[in-house]
Symmetry: D2
Subunit: 257 residues, 4 copies
Amino acid sequence: MTRKFVDLNCDMGENFGLYKVYPDDKIMKYITSANIACGFHAGDPHVMRYTVQLAKEHNVAVGAHVGFPDLIGFGRRRMECTPQQVKDYVTYQVGALWGYGRSLGVDLQHIKPHGQMYMMAGEDRALSEAIVEAIMELDKNLILFTHRAFVTYDVAKEMGLKVINEFYGDRGTRENGVLVFKFNLGDIGGSPEAMARRIARVVKENKVAAVTGKEIDLQAESVCIHSDTPQALEFFAAVHEILSKENIEITAVKNFI
Amino acid sequence: MTRKFVDLNCDMGENFGLYKVYPDDKIMKYITSANIACGFHAGDPHVMRYTVQLAKEHNVAVGAHVGFPDLIGFGRRRMECTPQQVKDYVTYQVGALWGYGRSLGVDLQHIKPHGQMYMMAGEDRALSEAIVEAIMELDKNLILFTHRAFVTYDVAKEMGLKVINEFYGDRGTRENGVLVFKFNLGDIGGSPEAMARRIARVVKENKVAAVTGKEIDLQAESVCIHSDTPQALEFFAAVHEILSKENIEITAVKNFI
Amino acid sequence: MTRKFVDLNCDMGENFGLYKVYPDDKIMKYITSANIACGFHAGDPHVMRYTVQLAKEHNVAVGAHVGFPDLIGFGRRRMECTPQQVKDYVTYQVGALWGYGRSLGVDLQHIKPHGQMYMMAGEDRALSEAIVEAIMELDKNLILFTHRAFVTYDVAKEMGLKVINEFYGDRGTRENGVLVFKFNLGDIGGSPEAMARRIARVVKENKVAAVTGKEIDLQAESVCIHSDTPQALEFFAAVHEILSKENIEITAVKNFI
Amino acid sequence: MTRKFVDLNCDMGENFGLYKVYPDDKIMKYITSANIACGFHAGDPHVMRYTVQLAKEHNVAVGAHVGFPDLIGFGRRRMECTPQQVKDYVTYQVGALWGYGRSLGVDLQHIKPHGQMYMMAGEDRALSEAIVEAIMELDKNLILFTHRAFVTYDVAKEMGLKVINEFYGDRGTRENGVLVFKFNLGDIGGSPEAMARRIARVVKENKVAAVTGKEIDLQAESVCIHSDTPQALEFFAAVHEILSKENIEITAVKNFI
């Protein structure tokens, strides 16, 4: 029988100072897991408190979106950090977000590395071990979000950390299940409805078409949609409508794994 | 009967990146409470882990030394932050340090605002309330370090947070018990031994001479000595020697309040 | 005879990293002097080059908008910097912007302190002297933008630096000619047209009504309109239309002082 | 005939805020070219002014030591920046240093990329072009310091920028003339005197032994010695003594190329 549940995650809390670019207040009602920036690649102490509060009000599970210390580059540039440095960055950022969670009565659900930390760890066992170690030393119940095809996933399994696979609903998919960075409406079916049906199919049939056209197997506990994707609100609305019709419940990943 | 216990606190973890200025490894054996910088006015994620680890190895209690986000100015410049901003900065920094404590199996004992955050809050009820609120939302068992003469102390008492008075052993004292910023050997008796006897007298008789010459009453649970004071190691050694002779036990504040 | 020329200045280059909030490309065609952020309170090296290039394409004069090193607070928080520190910050930021100007073949026209550096210097002779000294050591032909009521203006005159008074077209005016921070449409006449007529009156009659209702004398070489003011584009369009009808030429301040 | 002149360059101005680690005041008298950090990997606006002033007092030529924006990592971590980003960073930093030079009446002599910007550009034509372009747009008379074996050198020659080869006097040398990062006294002869004779031989005979033992040809206009190398002051003193005996004049590179 196919899975009946799926989590919907989105990067939140990426505003900074007076820069209020991302409409988190409009997005939050659509999602079940918020990946909250922790001040390294984006976000600041004020934005973090606001975002945790916003998630709480919408009953959205909260996770730390941990990145490289590169505000100008938004954590999207490769940085040659040692595993120990990466571990220290994860500990720091998760701790800081834990502060707001504790302050507002919200437990952390998950950790998702951001940008190049996500991608570099995906291909680097030592970096993945550093991230998993940092998380397990903080709280063994946290859930790591990554790609099934990434070594990060294998390392988490081996070390005993809960880990889930996420599917990028608003991005094309390579044959190994990894996202294509650049947004291209054609890669996801050409319309919000097509994208939503693509997601429903992943959830129910564990199948999706890669950008090469090849049909691949893909089982995902969570679907990521970016808040800065053009038409994001329409995408989210379409996903809710189609998944509801398909009897798929959208709920935080902690509720079904 | 006079108090038999005193805590010895020192600012630790103030190195940054490749800047290794402060000899924390030499100081740590002398102190019982370490105020660890959290990356805002000093310190970085790597220094923080190292310092918590060092404190653990020396069985030194760990606290967050929270400051303004002003690395160039070392948190020693007044910044006109709102109480909410200060609250957010405290939550962030304590959370981050908690991360390393959690990672290394060390509970936080205390919070000490740094530099101008310490001084500004001392004269500002709203800032003090912000700091106390931030702490209590994080952990009601944390202990706040401040001056008895500061409104911060009164606010903590009113709000139900544990708070202790600290005496600056290596600085002159104003008539209200508040430190004099600038180091002056004459203000503290002219020698390490005189400084140590001055501290012993505070602990046993609750008396000290202010820089004006006036004798004042002063009861302090903790004594702060700066690691960057000239001759700091001699000062620490003298304090241990004299206090031992006077049958005063130097122990972390959590052990006797 | 009344003045026939006026400069229109606007804060530009305040985006940062991926944060593209301010529509500089839409504003630039309306203005004659761009105050370009230099990476301390806003802006970054990439935004700076883009903004100088954009100004060049629109034949807009370029100036350095120098601020406190406080990105989270956007330079709008008081920081207790020494005059020497402020001088160093001005030299650094003007130098950096000069780099882009030199790179793109654009001479700098002016310097405008930003946010609290502008306001604090306005009431502090030592800070004003530090700013004027920094500018004169860099280039004696630069023009300083400030308020006539500020000591900064007097200091510049005394020290021999060119200085002009600016009028905040989109803000209410105190009786001493200094802006009211908070935007209030009522303070400027209630409509873009009224605002534009208010500006035209300043230029032609050197008169304006303060927010108290009192009529004051005010002679201004430049008018500042903020790009983040609601309806900014309509304001700019109205100013151009009305000033054109009034035969007032909008041109960079270097062209008529 | 062998060259009779050599420049002695050293990284200066790498202190930051209260972190006063590097003894620039003791080193400056030994060198002829100071590579001054510009606030990205090290240095700050106050340190920069101090360092330019110090160089001026010692009649030492001043250059910009431009690095990646990575203060925690001291610019020694690879960052995947685009050529345009690197160009923007160079323009910004050179401009900022120019500000202090202009302020203090000191012309810039040279540019030296720092840490990983130096190394990455050395193997990357596009990055090298970006650096050379940035410099030439600022001032065609600036001199670029790099390794002869680096593509940076070739690019500078092709584009018409003055460029010199530097030899790392306090580091071992690979067979292509590029430095070995890690300090090892054995690599440079085992003593300050041996190191100095090794430098003299490079200057007079254009020969040096690589760490492999192989004798290589190496012509260098400038010799770099690090101020944070153990025994740096002894090294500098020995270099002056030996080179004086060998009738080699130590003088800024601008004086003889």
